[in-house]
């Protein structure tokens, strides 16, 4: 064979195989980058940053549950039942407000009939810059999010996608596994991975002490918070007046508040919360909830796996509360709410938390 024929053979065969691989990945599409799931195949949902964008773009739904890990244990089926909607759950563990807003923008750009959004507002992120993204714990798959078709090669020619995603899907099909996806109840659900109770929550805390000095909210911080909330939380609601936005402050445990008190940031945090509330409260289609003053929940460490993360029964409890309007902040009640919050968490005996006894039996549902 001469060189010319060898090269013709090389390029034509290579292009042929490249076309086959491309077709294969695009057809199966385990991250839903090009289309919704193929009916006959079973898709496992287990990679938020890679799959949420495709779910948001291509699935059929009219309600979204989103936020950080604090929303991961919501049961989409429960949301559907309580609010009579067809929801997707697309949480982004550790996400900033900006990242969650980006996903919601995608949802509203691709779907016209979104009736409802349930979203967490993590108070630990109040002070983040309005455009900040989490780039500290992994490489963000930009190729799935941008509109550049050339960098789709990172998706199509990808060892994990081909061998660990597409081929197992085909294998399952041949083995007779029914088509479908991981249910949104189970997607990102982590309850089975952790132990709850004060032994876990306080394992790195020896005592709660009073602060040496107290920090206060500066004018610059206040401006930055307002800008961030306006850009990443309020503006989307204003642009979509027909959609109901159920937002809630994530109810951290008393241990987290005790830590804030120790660091001298507790009152600053509440001042920041006031700033957030005042930026949101005028927007009529945002229903802002807080359960921070439901102190039976926050002071019972059996509800938590660490200082921040509550169990699924709290997620469930919050849904019912939202349906019934419990914990809703309004123009009329928010000042009183903040006063009660400030008063309680400044005066609570945090060291009494060490006396609590672990309750191994988890409640499945709190009585409302």
């Amino acid at each position: 064979m001469n060189s010319k024929n060898w090269l013709i053979g090389f390029f034509s065969l290579s292009l042929f195989f490249i076309a086959i691989i491309t077709g294969f990945v695009v057809y199966i599409d385990p991250f839903f980058h090009y289309h919704k799931p193929i009916e006959n195949f079973y898709y496992t949902l287990n990679n938020q940053r890679s799959q949420n964008d495709g779910i948001t773009k291509h699935f059929d739904y009219n309600a979204i549950i989103t936020g950080t890990s604090m929303t991961e244990n919501f049961m989409a089926s429960e949301v559907d039942e309580i609010f009579n909607v067809n929801s997707i759950k697309v949480p982004y563990s550790g996400a900033t407000y900006k990242e969650i807003d980006n996903n919601l923008q995608t949802a509203f750009n691709t779907h016209e009939n979104i009736e409802m959004v349930i979203r967490s507002i993590d108070s630990n992120y109040f002070f983040y810059n309005k455009d900040e993204m989490r780039e500290d714990s992994g490489t963000f798959p930009d190729y799935l999010y941008n509109k550049n078709p050339l960098d789709d090669v990172y998706y199509i020619f990808n060892r994990d996608i081909i061998y660990n995603r597409c081929l197992p899907i085909i294998n399952d099909y041949w083995d007779g596994v029914s088509g479908g996806i991981t249910s949104f109840d189970n997607y990102s659900y982590w309850m089975h991975l952790y132990t709850f109770g004060n032994t876990e929550v306080l394992k790195e805390t020896s005592e709660f002490s009073k602060p040496q000095s107290e920090e206060s909210l500066t004018l610059e911080e206040k401006t930055a918070i307002t800008e961030s909330i306006e850009q990443n939380i309020v503006s989307l609601a204003r642009e979509n007046p027909d959609t109901k936005f159920y937002y809630f402050f994530t109810s951290y445990s008393a241990a987290a508040w005790g830590e804030r008190l120790r660091k001298g940031t507790l009152n600053k945090q509440i001042d920041a919360e006031q700033c957030v509330i005042e930026t949101i409260i005028d927007c009529e289609n945002i229903y802002l909830y807080s359960f921070n003053n439901f102190t039976d929940i926050t002071t019972n460490l059996n509800n938590y796996k660490d200082a921040y993360h509550y169990g699924e029964w709290i997620n469930s409890y919050m849904l019912t509360a939202m349906k019934n309007g419990e914990g809703l902040l309004t123009k009329e009640n928010y000042i009183l709410y903040l006063e009660q919050e400030r008063n309680f968490y400044n005066n609570f005996d945090y060291n009494s938390l060490f006396q609590q006894i672990d309750e191994p039996d988890r409640p499945t549902k709190l009585q409302f």
């Binding site: 053979g9 290579s14 963000f140």
Partner: protein, 496 residues
């Protein structure tokens, strides 16, 4: 090593999507189109090669590009000084070498010095955040090589542009091979090499794909096992650690020789030959022979520019041994900023010396035993090369030598059970062996590696056939490699 704060940069590696699917084909095609269209082929072609090399290097960031340009300017001032004042001026040459070595030391070894000063004098000097310019070890040696060649009046006719292209030439810029300026610039000047040569394109593709296969299908697989072993030393058995040591021996070879094959292949497509860097090193029967086969361009450099100027082997045995040790300790330092590298170099030097001293007795030993002794010594020293500290190496060695538990952990074996190899097993209908033979996948990789390293002809000396069979092998290899590129992005968040 605690306190190490070198900032490494993502660069356009040969085994990435952007290089294989965009940069390489666009570069090769446009290079020959431009050459064909231009009247002054040499000048335009070389200019284009330089532009390609700058784009390749600047992909990692413009800052480090400026550093390389700065290094070139500084060196060229010394070259001009040598030309203007006196070619045989040792002071200027020494100045140039010292400046280059100081630049290398300040980037690569400053934090290592700080760490040692802190340890010895019980100080707490903070480590510095240093951005390590890509390929600094390689291009610093290339600059030194050019300075020495200038000293001997061997670069008289080369222009500034040719010098810059010699340093920048992208196939060898990041990881060599270290190339003699005359060898490369003569080829840049040859107008015949500006015309497309289909034979070279075929050979280049074959070399590139072979290198890619070595890297993606072997080195990266062994790397998984090695990483597991080093992360789980406390639970690893003696058997595990022997496998980990062997795996690293194969990983480093397939990684580096794979890279060199790719570099040679790319350069071949551009009609430029690069020197041979590997000649089946694990076939060596002695440490001396190993170094004639491993990273040959570095060995040549160190021999030419350090060993011989020190007197080589012409000043008696003692001086020869000292010179050998000096060369190997420098080689160790060049490889990395850690005492492990220095000891690694020293022990290789000692191996060479012992080879020399006991040459007659050694030659009488059965060749199989010679090979086994050499291969074992190399293995043990690669373990040191990979270790984070000498203490870690000693701990692992002790564990190996105890031979207390020769079982191989399932978790280590699992690192070698790859979905892509399972497809090969299914195709060959040997999947059942996974269940019949414990650790079959691991054995498969080790056996394949031994066959490639010991039984196959070296890539560089092999005749590049243009048969139908070679076509099928290379196409399948190329497509296989494409499917092994990249990984899924995963995020590890804690508490949010």
């Amino acid at each position: 090593m605690k306190g190490k704060r070198l900032i490494r940069i993502n660069y356009m590696q040969f085994n990435t999507h952007i290089f294989i699917l965009f940069f390489l084909p666009i570069s090769i095609i446009s290079y020959f189109i431009i050459n064909r269209l231009s009247k002054n082929k040499n000048h335009i072609g070389n200019c284009f090669l330089l532009i390609l090399s700058i784009i390749f290097y600047a992909y990692a960031g413009v800052k480090i590009l400026f550093f390389l340009i700065f290094s070139i300017i500084i060196n060229y001032i010394f070259i001009l000084l040598q030309k203007k004042i006196n070619y045989y001026n040792r002071i200027i040459l020494s100045g140039a070498i010292i400046i280059n070595v100081l630049i290398l030391l300040s980037f690569k070894y400053l934090n290592f010095f700080i760490l040692n000063i802190n340890t010895i004098f019980n100080k707490e000097i903070a480590s510095l955040d240093i951005i390590l310019p890509l390929g600094i070890s390689f291009f610093t040696f290339q600059q030194i090589q050019y300075q020495v060649e200038t000293y001997y009046r061997r670069t008289q006719s080369y222009s500034f542009f040719e010098y810059v292209l010699y340093v920048f030439y992208f196939p060898k810029l990041i990881m060599g091979p270290l190339t003699d300026p005359h060898y490369l610039i003569t080829q840049f000047r040859d107008p015949q090499k500006k015309n497309i040569n289909l034979d070279n394109i075929v050979q280049g593709i074959q070399l590139f794909v072979t290198g890619l296969l070595k890297k993606l299908c072997l080195a990266d697989v062994f790397a998984q096992g090695v990483d597991w072993g080093f992360t789980n030393q406390s639970i690893a058995t003696s058997g595990d650690l022997i496998i980990v040591m062997l795996a690293y021996t194969f990983q480093i070879y397939f990684d580096f020789s794979g890279y060199t094959d790719m570099a040679n292949g790319i350069s071949k497509m551009l009609n430029i030959s690069l020197p041979i860097n590997f000649n089946s090193p694990y076939k060596a029967f002695s440490i001396r022979e190993f170094w004639k086969r491993w990273h040959m361009s570095l060995t040549h450099f160190l021999t030419q520019y350090i060993y011989i100027p020190l007197g080589g082997s012409k000043k008696g045995n003692t001086i020869t041994y000292i010179n050998t040790l000096v060369v190997f300790v420098i080689s160790g330092i060049w490889h990395g900023a850690n005492w492990t590298f220095i000891l690694w170099g020293f022990l290789h030097g000692m191996g060479q010396i012992l080879n020399r001293i006991f040459q007659k007795q050694y030659e009488k030993i059965n060749p199989v035993v010679q090979w086994f002794l050499t291969f074992s010594y190399i293995n043990i020293l690669w373990l040191l090369f990979r270790s984070a500290s000498i203490t870690e190496w000693i701990t692992m060695l002790k564990n190996i030598l105890h031979l207390s538990d020769m079982n191989i952990s399932q978790k280590l074996i699992n690192k070698f059970i790859r979905p892509e190899t399972q497809i090969i097993f299914k195709t060959l209908r040997i999947s059942f062996l996974n269940e019949k033979i414990y650790g079959f996948s691991l054995l498969f990789y080790i056996a394949i590696s031994f066959i490639i390293c010991l039984c196959c002809e070296n890539t560089n000396s092999k005749e590049h056939k243009k048969s139908f069979l070679s076509l099928i092998f290379i196409v399948l290899g190329f497509v296989w490699c494409l499917t092994c590129l990249g990984t899924e992005s995963t995020f590890v968040y804690f508490n949010f």
